[in-house]
């Protein structure tokens, strides 16, 4: 994989097994993040689309239940969420080396990446995430449109996700 930074989709496309190997080794799950995604997806396909009132909640409920079932089958008294946080952690760092770093270090690196974005993109992200300003307030402060505020957030999210892989 020449650029492991392009997100989970890249991992799914590459099928290189880094994620699986990491999870197997570290968390001891016989079931990995990709299986979780596949199973969640299959449940989604079999459900009546109109019955899914809150799609995001649906995904995480299904994933939690699936992991709980797996954990229950593997060992009694497993974690309450079946290790969802841990698996999600792997989704966010779909690269063996990046996944190996400590959360604190990763957060620092991410901040460094944010600081390297263009000043406007950086300002939008910080005003949104740290100061929790509304899109409108951010737009007014930076003299840009609300549409551009959202675009900066989307681009910033994606760029940071891509950039994190380059640390590996």
């Amino acid at each position: 994989m020449s650029d492991p930074a392009a997100g989970l989709a890249h991992v799914l496309l590459e099928q290189d097994g880094l994620l699986q190997r990491y999870i197997h080794r570290r968390a001891g799950h016989a079931w990995d993040a990709q299986d979780m995604v596949q199973e969640t997806y299959l449940r989604l396909l079999s459900a009546d689309p109109d019955s899914i009132r809150n799609p995001e909640a649906y995904l995480f409920t299904v994933a939690t239940n699936l992991l709980r079932q797996r954990a229950g089958g593997r060992q009694a008294g497993g974690r309450e969420d079946g290790g969802l946080d841990e698996v999600l952690d792997r989704l966010v760092t779909p690269c063996e080396a990046a996944a190996g770093v400590d959360h604190e270090v990763r957060s620092k690196r991410l901040h460094e990446l944010m600081a390297r974005l263009s000043p406007k993109c950086r300002a939008v992200l910080v005003l949104h995430y740290r100061d929790e300003l509304s899109y409108r307030d951010i737009a007014d402060q930076l003299d840009i449109s609300v549409h551009m505020v959202k675009k900066y957030i989307v681009k910033g999210l994606a760029a940071c996700r891509q950039g994190m892989g380059r640390y590996a």
């Binding site: 989709a9 109109d50 899914i52 995904l59 992200l125 995430y129 740290r130 910033g156 999210l157 891509q162």
Partner: protein, 379 residues
């Protein structure tokens, strides 16, 4: 290239997931909810990436908390970022990025470049150029300084430029070029990454593009140049480009008058691969340029821009050229957003303008007045 396409596809899914994240945080109405479910059902990649982006959102929140600058500091810093990049002054309100006249290390030109004139002229490219820096520098090679302006696209976005000679340039993410326009010669060096240039005709000076040790001479055309670790590639969309024999000296040395030999004459639809020593290693006809141009923005967004300028942007995509054959239509100012790779929507829009007629032939898509055209505008 295959890898790049795959990465671009993955990046697109990440951005779509991020867009859905924002939409979810704002609350989905019934239509959006159905569309979101449909998007998720489209692929397991969508499901996985959405779940990842939800988690990533939290990581971003934590990382943003580390930012030492307060809101006022961030806003001030952002205010110094040019909303658009103007190169040379050619009309009202267009600011000039000065060319360094003394030897100095590269420096970054900052400063708000705003104003009605700028907004009108650059609104169409403002999105692509939203994250940009213009560096003005003097390079040294021996005792001979080489002047020029370096333009670089950020790693997280493309950049569009319009040079004073009428040339339009698109830079891929992380790409950089050095531009030196003079009365007798125009030089552009591709320092890294990929550039697509639609050569302007406002200057009669010859245009040379340098790629490593190779010099490309334009004969009025649209072409793409990519710098690679082991050489580079030149793809011609339309017109003609001469690939000159590798140069031993720095091609920008002032007073260079030598006439290097032409090693290849590329026509529209041809691509040359160059080795690191500047020699031509491969020459092939390209029947489909879509992969070569996959990095270009998927949409063309413009505001109060002349039809002629917008049509030129479509023509950068290697599709059947749009030929605006009436001066008044060419000058008509329009706003909108269209899929860049499907000009049919734009053509349909043009047809809604009063008195506009469209006909197609092997030369391209002709946009004419219903009455006989009085003037032809070359795009």
């Amino acid at each position: 290239m295959h890898d790049e396409i795959r990465q671009a596809a993955a990046r697109r899914i990440t951005e779509e997931a991020a867009q859905w994240l924002l939409a979810n945080r704002e609350g989905l109405d019934e239509t959006s909810r159905a569309a979101f479910v449909e998007w998720l059902r489209h692929s397991p990649s969508h499901v996985g990436e959405y779940m990842a982006i939800v988690q990533w959102d939290q990581e971003m929140r934590e990382a943003a908390g580390r930012e030492p600058l307060d809101a006022a500091g961030l806003v001030a810093l952002a205010g110094d970022e040019p909303a658009v990049v103007a190169l040379h002054s050619r009309g009202e309100g267009v600011l000039r990025a000065p060319i360094a006249r003394e030897r100095a290390p590269a420096r970054v030109v900052t400063g708000a470049m705003r104003g009605p004139g700028v907004a009108r002229r650059w609104a169409g490219v403002a999105v692509a150029a939203s994250v940009v820096l213009a560096a003005v520098a003097v390079w040294h090679r021996g005792d001979a300084p080489v002047e020029g302006i370096v333009y670089a696209a950020p790693v997280d976005g493309m950049r569009s430029l319009q040079l004073d000679d009428g040339s339009r340039i698109q830079l891929d993410r992380g790409s950089s070029i050095r531009v030196n326009l003079g009365a007798t010669r125009r030089d552009i060096a591709v320092l890294g990454g990929t550039m697509l240039i639609d050569v302007g005709h406002d200057s009669s000076a010859p245009l040379n593009v340098t790629l490593g040790r190779t010099v490309l001479r334009d004969i009025g055309t649209v072409f793409q140049v990519s710098a690679k670790k082991d050489g580079g590639e030149v793809t011609v969309l339309s017109g003609r480009v001469d690939v000159l024999a590798p140069s031993e000296g720095w091609p920008w040395q002032p007073g260079t008058t030598r006439a290097p030999s032409v090693v290849a004459r590329l026509q529209g639809g041809e691509r040359a691969t160059l080795a690191s020593d500047g020699s031509l290693s491969h020459l092939a006809a390209r029947t489909d340029l879509s992969q070569d141009l996959a990095w270009l923005p998927a949409e063309i967004d413009f505001h109060d821009a002349p039809v002629a300028d917008v049509a030129r942007r479509f023509n950068d995509y290697g599709q059947a050229p749009l030929l605006i054959e009436d001066a008044s239509i060419a000058a008509t100012r329009i706003s909108g957003r269209f899929h860049a790779r499907d000009p049919a929507g734009f053509v349909a829009y043009l047809q809604t303008l009063p008195g506009v007629q469209v006909h197609r032939d092997e030369a391209g898509v002709h946009i004419v007045r219903k009455s006989p055209a009085t003037h032809t505008v070359r795009l």
